[in-house]
Symmetry: none
Subunit: 232 residues, 2 copies
Amino acid sequence: MDSKILVIDDEKAIADIVKFNLEKEGYKVSTAYDGEEGVQAVENIIPDLVILDIMMPKKDGFQVLKEIRMKYKFPVIMLTAKEEEVDKVLGLELGADDYITKPFSMRELIARVKANLRRVNYSNFSNSENTDSIITSEDLVIDLNKYEVKKSDKIIELTLREFELLKFLATSANQVFSREQLLEEVWGYEYYGDIRTVDVTIRRLREKIEDGNGEFKYIITKRGVGYYFRRA
Amino acid sequence: MDSKILVIDDEKAIADIVKFNLEKEGYKVSTAYDGEEGVQAVENIIPDLVILDIMMPKKDGFQVLKEIRMKYKFPVIMLTAKEEEVDKVLGLELGADDYITKPFSMRELIARVKANLRRVNYSNFSNSENTDSIITSEDLVIDLNKYEVKKSDKIIELTLREFELLKFLATSANQVFSREQLLEEVWGYEYYGDIRTVDVTIRRLREKIEDGNGEFKYIITKRGVGYYFRRA
DNA sequence: TATTGATTTCCAATTAATTGTAATATATAA
DNA sequence: TTATATATTACAATTAATTGGAAATCAATA
């Protein structure tokens, strides 16, 4: 979340009002007032999405897009003043993800920004949808598509975090991971929290999937190192 | 995963940009620049889905489609430049699975590609009940043709949206869908609305089909992920 | 084409569930 | 036994889902 957006438009008034409105929505917004500046800004900021005007002095939007696309894949929404340009945007040029014709309402702009950011996120994880998706071990069945775990055919309710932790450990069964690794892989690179969080989540997971006889048979502690999922 | 897609379009610029964008989504994409080349490419590659332009020299899209359909069943999405062609695509019953009119946004194209691939996956996967137009679960009866839902033999009045949402969820019972997926599938590719709309529609649907005892037995929330229709 | 009613959407307040933190207890190995 | 690592617990903070109501849109009918 808190996506970074770059607005490239030579009409300062427009760039600024767009910035204002997107910031109101909670995005981090930068602006650039011509094409060259825009290309530079992309390099510095590495935004999650760019809003790019076509008609600009020095370097026009198409050129900027071309340069962006040589290196980056984030969505780019083009702003076009004339209907004729639409065909160009969609058909001939280099991979704009979406476009809006001026004049546009802020409501529409924001909706499109959201939709395009959403698409990125969604394709990231829904692509794993079809990979082999069921892991079994003893009486545990982990269904990665359905986000569901069964123990001797009884459904176990795991929270998302618990599920993702189990999923990560189980897909690399018998391999020990340090808490740091788990934080990075399951919680994400940006995560800054306490390392003991892992212990607690492991604990909650065990409570749900282990037999509760004091022995753990799935998630094993490797003292001084970390945890692993045991699979015969 | 990693589906193979073949793009057949005589306008190289378009074929290439489509290729670029689909590759960004993780597909393996090949291109062919006229109809004959296209037919050959199909034979060589055996793609999982074809995107096929109608207006082409040598062999037009209709002809290509006919030849493809003599041997293969994978989905074909037709590209049409003019509205008039749409009728033809639909009317001729040649077996196009979907069509998009130019100009189109990449967002739309990708959404349709995904939707068509997903459809195929389901019908391969799931049991032959798939073609059934009546779905039953506990005391619910959903008649897909008649747009009618009964609960213990009493007709329940659903609005169109509610019905389509229920229909989509119920035809892929026990599979979790994110709100993004539901927006795309039920509301349509070009929908730019608020994501919470899904929640609200789910709620109205529940109000009508669930028992009203605080427990939901049909439409289940998978926290942090989305919703699914539960069927024993 | 107005008018009215139904549907749909948007928004945000409320409620519910999850997750993180910190403090304490327990186990383990030197 | 002591020092260190891990497990457990309770509570606070955070995040997500549900809900109600207002506003906008759509559709039917006068």
